[in-house]
């Protein structure tokens, strides 16, 4: 299992978590490379469709990230993301997909170290879960 490299998508919002990811870079915080970032303007943009398709295509884990509650650049996009996330978790369970494969985390533009930690932990979880088949 040691050379299993999971496929992981990380959705970042432009204003907080993407900037947090950049800050982690600027601070040279080393992390597991097995993730690919997709940037949208806000976490509220993420459609269930994106996530379901990704899982169908064999992506092993999806991390949604956005601004902390109250900080969303568009007032409440992250709350909408949270609601959708909760619903999606239930749906995943019904579909027989371990719901730990989907996670939502808040990361601010100033939290490079937190970005690193969140990424490393998530990749660890997914690596333990193994391929989605």
């Amino acid at each position: 299992m040691s050379d299993y490299k999971p496929k992981i998508i990380v959705f970042c919002c432009n204003w907080c978590s993407y900037a947090g990811a950049d800050l982690a870079g600027v601070s040279r915080l080393q992390m597991n490379p097995n993730f690919r970032i997709i940037r949208t303007m806000c976490s509220g943009r993420i459609e269930p469709e994106f996530i379901l398709t990704a899982f169908k295509k064999g992506v092993d884990g999806i991390l949604l990230t956005g601004c902390h509650p109250g900080d969303c650049h568009y007032i409440s996009g992250n709350y909408k993301a949270l609601r959708r996330y909760n619903a999606l978790k239930l749906l995943l369970k019904e579909m027989g997909i371990d719901d730990r494969r989907l996670k939502l985390e808040w990361i601010s533009a100033g939290e490079g170290a937190r970005f690193q930690e969140v990424i490393n932990n998530f990749i660890k979880t997914i690596t333990e879960l193994g391929p989605i088949v």
């Binding site: 900037a19 950049d22 982690a24 459609e47 994106f50 650049h73």
Partner: protein, 1017 residues
């Protein structure tokens, strides 16, 4: 000198370093013509020579190059390089200046920087840019990213000139026929309304300190040389080697304060930046070679700026860099291997010797030698150290009206401070000639957009090396080859720096040559560099939304630097995803909106008032909101600056200016209730607490920009028995005592103990509060002056009297103030016994605990973020950093901007700072905000939602959900359908994600585009 009525809407900026470039951009963007004068052939200054910048280790050239390119191509900035000022007449508002442009012996109209000439030139010359470690030719451009990218012949070395008419290789081979040995020097006469000096710095010449053996020992180098050694495009291609044998060093020593804090060298001041740049260079060396042993020898570690203290900590704890407090006696070279023997005295007075194989001298900063000359021509005052003097409480204003100064020409400074002052000097210049705005400028025009509809995508991929920032980890050529195999990619290439001027030109050529209709750039972060590439493709008729930018540096090479294979694989994946998305990119129309020409300033302290005055003096209406019932903020508790200026008087006149200014409306006792809108069009509700009635009143204002100036608060200590004994006070309380009871409170024969870093640099607040050292020394000097028999002790960790304030530290020592060092694990203790106060501390020489009776204990308390920060950050949707201060858009080059357009920051809301620094930052913020207000309309992002009325069933979810009321159900013949009001839509995409019919799409973040990326994983 009389101020003439005829004014000229142009400004001469002298010095093409980062300061001059920033001032030029701000002025030109604000509607003024700029002549940017530079004595060398290219703009860029010292920043172009640096490898990385602290404390983010950002690649210096990468963040600088876009600015150079912007200045180079700005229609309202005229570069006059390789030229010097020779004469001036006239007065503020209307100067005539004479400039001497040296002949480059190359016709710059014809030269396109192709490089044939310098490839073929047979003459090798030491390159100044490479600090003599590398060579250039007799015909050359100073560095690869030079702006303008034009060749110059160095007459001193060119065979044609030296041997009288021989050689001519360059002339014969130049494809553009640009070389012309007969071009004479020429004089240029121009008229300007104002002048800004940003001539920058020169590093101290360490030859003058013979004990270090610089120039004699090959392996003693100065810090700026190390920058070049570390740089990927430097003389050793970024390999960390020492000069004598080109071998990797294993033990490196840095020596601090070379030519700084040095009375013998005539440089009594502290150069402010050397501690942090040494830390940076040490970290960079460690990144080159983890097993390197690195020691920094220093007197005080001065990491006083935003983010510096944690950088210092990281250097110690994470990188294992050693810091030794010591006095260096001398350096000797060992004949056998040219290693170096360092003799020094450690903190406990022991004489030590240690061997190193490379020694780096952290040389101080001096004003550029040009300054003396300029001061003569322009009739300016210089300080005893040769810096240009500014007038009281106006740090960028020289004694000569209409002439301003920024950056290291007036004192040692780091890059963000220089950039701040550059914007501030632009502000002052604008105030002088505001009536002439837009008179001499022309609009930026782009060619018409080519219509690609119906055509197959033709994608060009440009992969950046970013020096070694990317290429050091990611195998760039592999990525390029891979990109070529992707669908619809018709061209792919690598660039050393994709953002440099020559690469930008090249990209344009490739767009034309390969008929590209989509461009993918794989480089750093779109957050800083996307606009530059968008401009470039626009110049070739491509809509700017046909660019896709993927981040293979900040989010790939930098965070996976130990896993080159996986990082390369990731970079390929990212390029594949980007190309997949690029296939679906669509051109979007520009949306322009009107600008409300007024500003809101939050906070009525020194910063807020100066920011308000700045905008008001530019002619804009300003609303100033202050929470308290009085203006003045923290400055109300300050009487004097360390150099004796009267703060009380200054504050009074400032308040008066603000309150009587016709353009400023002040709301005291007021708070923000709500903020809505966006750049150019904000709408804010202010809650005013009625003074007598205590009834709240609400007013609503409209404004185009926001400046945050909420300040900071003094930390109220819980340590050292504060609050339990009236003899234990803070510095602020001490200052009030000194000034309010000049006759009552006598300190004669009293013992006063000051303790530094109370509430700063500890586990709870990790940062340094920057001003407390100077504040303590100021008060100590005031006490000593009044009551010479007072005994003053200052307990400190490091004394951080950076810059010119260093001379007051010397003065304090000379006056008998006693400085005692303490370490974190042996802090002094304060206790009471029988009504008396005592301090318990370790006596360093005897190394035993002693107790001393004291009369006063003064705590140098730090500054903490204002309690309103959290709330304001949420209202405005702008970020705070980990310490709770506001986080600017970019630490180095956008110090007063937020990432959100139209919102700015200044003063202690940003981080602790002095009054002068706050004033400069406030003026900078008003200059930056003024750029927006100077326009009637601005372009906003056309990233808005779109409803497919065929699919829409009129359920109304989007209408309910939209936070901006951008969706509206409209009755049509088919029933209700949602309609988007584009002007209200901010582009979050929540509606698109929630539409059960998938009838809503987000432009530029469409379902197809995102899905294409998901599927390409």
């Amino acid at each position: 000198m009389n101020i003439s009525n005829r004014k000229v809407g142009a400004v001469l900026v002298i010095g093409g370093g980062i300061g001059g470039v920033q001032a030029s951009l701000d002025l030109a963007d604000s509607g003024f013509k700029v002549y940017l004068l530079e004595k060398t052939p290219s703009i860029g200054g010292v920043m172009a020579q640096l490898d990385k910048t602290f404390p983010t280790n950002d690649c210096s050239m990468c963040i600088l190059a876009p600015k150079l390119v912007s200045a180079g191509r700005h229609p309202n900035i005229e570069l006059i390089t390789y030229a010097e000022l020779v004469g001036i007449q006239g007065g503020p508002g209307d100067f005539s200046v004479q400039i001497l442009k040296r002949s480059p012996f190359v016709d710059w109209e014809k030269c396109n920087g192709c490089g044939v000439c310098w490839e073929k030139c047979p003459i090798m010359v030491d390159s100044d840019f490479e600090c003599g470690l590398g060579k250039r030719k007799a015909i050359y451009v100073p560095f690869p990213q030079a702006v303008p990218n034009k060749a110059v012949i160095d007459k001193e070395h060119c065979t044609y000139f030296v041997k009288g008419g021989k050689c001519r290789v360059c002339q014969i081979l130049c494809p553009a026929k640009a070389v012309d040995f007969n071009i004479p020097d020429k004089q240029i006469d121009i008229k300007v309304g104002s002048i800004i000096i940003g001539t920058g710095l020169k590093t101290f010449d360490p030859h003058l300190k013979s004990i270090f053996g610089y120039g004699k020992y090959a392996n003693v180098i100065k810090s700026i040389e190390l920058e070049r050694i570390l740089n990927a495009s430097g003389p050793f291609q970024g390999h960390l080697v020492r000069p004598s044998d080109r071998k990797e060093p294993h033990r490196v020593a840095f020596i601090q304060c070379v030519g700084s804090r040095d009375v013998k060298a005539g440089n009594n001041y502290c150069s402010s930046v050397c501690c942090v740049y040494a830390i940076k260079e040490a970290i960079l060396m460690k990144e080159h070679n983890r097993s390197l042993d690195c020691t920094i020898f220093y007197m005080d570690m001065r990491t006083f700026g935003k983010g510096f203290e944690s950088y210092y900590k990281r250097a110690k704890e994470k990188y294992g860099i050693k810091f030794k407090r010591a006095m260096i006696g001398e350096i000797l070279e060992l004949a056998e291997n040219r290693n170096l023997l360092l003799k020094y005295e450690d903190e406990d007075g022991n004489l030590k010797r240690e061997k190193f194989d490379l020694v780096v001298l952290s040389v101080g900063l001096k004003p550029d030698e040009n300054v003396k000359n300029l001061a003569e021509i322009l009739n300016l005052d210089l300080s005893e150290f040769g810096f240009i003097k500014s007038i009281h409480f106006s740090p960028v204003e020289t004694i000569r009206p209409g002439i301003f100064v920024c950056g290291t020409a007036s004192a040692p400074k780091d890059i963000p401070e220089t950039v701040t002052e550059a914007s501030a000097s632009a502000q002052k210049a604008i105030e002088l000639i505001k009536e002439e705005r837009h008179k001499l400028t022309r609009k930026i025009e782009y060619p018409g957009e080519v219509d690609f509809s119906g055509q197959q995508p033709r994608i060009g991929v440009f992969v950046c090396h970013c020096g070694i920032n990317i290429a050091g980890t990611v195998k760039v050529m592999e990525v390029v080859e891979y990109a070529k195999t992707l669908p619809n990619v018709v061209y792919a290439e690598n660039n050393l720096y994709s953002c440099s001027d020559d690469s930008q030109q090249h990209i344009k050529e490739m767009i034309e040559k390969h008929k590209l209709n989509r461009v993918v750039v794989a480089a750093c972060t779109p957050r800083t560099h996307e606009p530059l590439f968008q401009e470039t493709i626009r110049e070739k008729g491509l809509n700017k939304f046909l660019l896709e930018f993927t981040n293979i540096r900040d989010q790939c090479s930098w965070v996976h630097s130990h896993q080159p294979d996986l990082a390369t694989e990731k970079a390929k994946d990212l390029v594949r995803m980007a190309c997949a998305r690029a296939n679906h990119l669509e051109p979007l129309p520009t949306i322009t909106i009107p600008v409300t020409q007024s500003g809101l300033v939050i906070g009525g302290g020194i910063s807020g008032m100066n920011a308000a005055l700045g905008l008001a003096n530019q002619g804009y209406k300003v609303y100033l909101v202050e929470e308290k019932e009085e203006l003045g903020g923290n400055a109300r508790h300050i009487n004097r600056t360390i150099d004796g200026r009267n703060v009380k008087e200054y504050l009074q006149s400032l308040i008066k200016n603000v309150q009587t200014h016709p353009n400023i409306k002040v709301y005291k006792n007021s708070k923000l209730e709500s903020v809505s809108g966006y750049i150019g069009n904000f709408r804010t509700r202010i809650k005013i607490q009625g003074e007598e009635t205590k009834k709240n009143e609400l007013v609503e204002i409209e404004h185009g920009v926001i400046i945050v100036a909420t300040g900071a608060q003094e930390y109220k200590p819980t340590e050292y028995l504060y609050g339990k004994d009236s003899r234990i006070i803070t510095q602020r309380e001490l200052e009030e005592k000194i000034f309010s009871h000049p006759t009552m409170e006598s300190f004669n024969d009293k013992t006063i103990v000051m303790i530094q870093c109370v509430g700063s640099r500890d586990n709870e607040r990790k940062y340094c509060s920057r001003i407390c050292c100077s504040q303590a020394i100021k008060n100590a000097l005031l006490i000593k002056q009044k009551d010479p028999d007072a005994e003053v002790f200052i307990f400190y960790k490091d004394i951080r009297t950076y810059g010119i304030n260093e001379i007051f530290y010397q003065k304090a020592r000379d006056t008998g103030v006693i400085f005692v060092r303490y370490d974190d694990d042996a802090k002094p203790e304060i206790f009471g016994r029988n009504g008396a106060l005592f301090i318990k501390t370790k006596e360093p020489i005897l190394n035993e605990e002693i107790e001393l009776p004291v009369d006063f204990v003064v705590l140098s308390t730090g500054l903490i973020p204002d309690k309103s920060n959290r709330e304001i950050a949420q209202l405005l949707k702008v970020p705070l950093n980990e310490d709770g201060f506001f986080l600017e858009a970019h630490m180095k080059l956008r110090p007063v901007d937020f990432a959100t357009d139209g919102i700015f920051i200044c003063g202690m809301a940003h981080s602790p700072k002095t009054i002068d620094e706050s004033i400069a930052q406030a003026q900078a913020a008003s200059a930056r905000a003024g750029i927006i207000l100077s326009k009637d309309t601005i372009e906003v992002l056309p990233i808005v939602a779109e409803v497919d009325t065929e699919k829409c069933i009129g359920c109304g979810i989007c209408e309910k959900l939209c936070a901006y009321q951008a969706h509206e159900l409209k009755k049509t013949e088919k029933g209700y359908r949602s309609e988007v009001i584009s002007a209200y839509c901010k582009g979050c995409g929540s509606c698109a994600a929630s539409c059960p019919q998938m009838a809503i799409n987000m432009k530029h973040f469409t379902n197809e585009q995102i899905m294409a990326m998901v599927e390409a994983i």
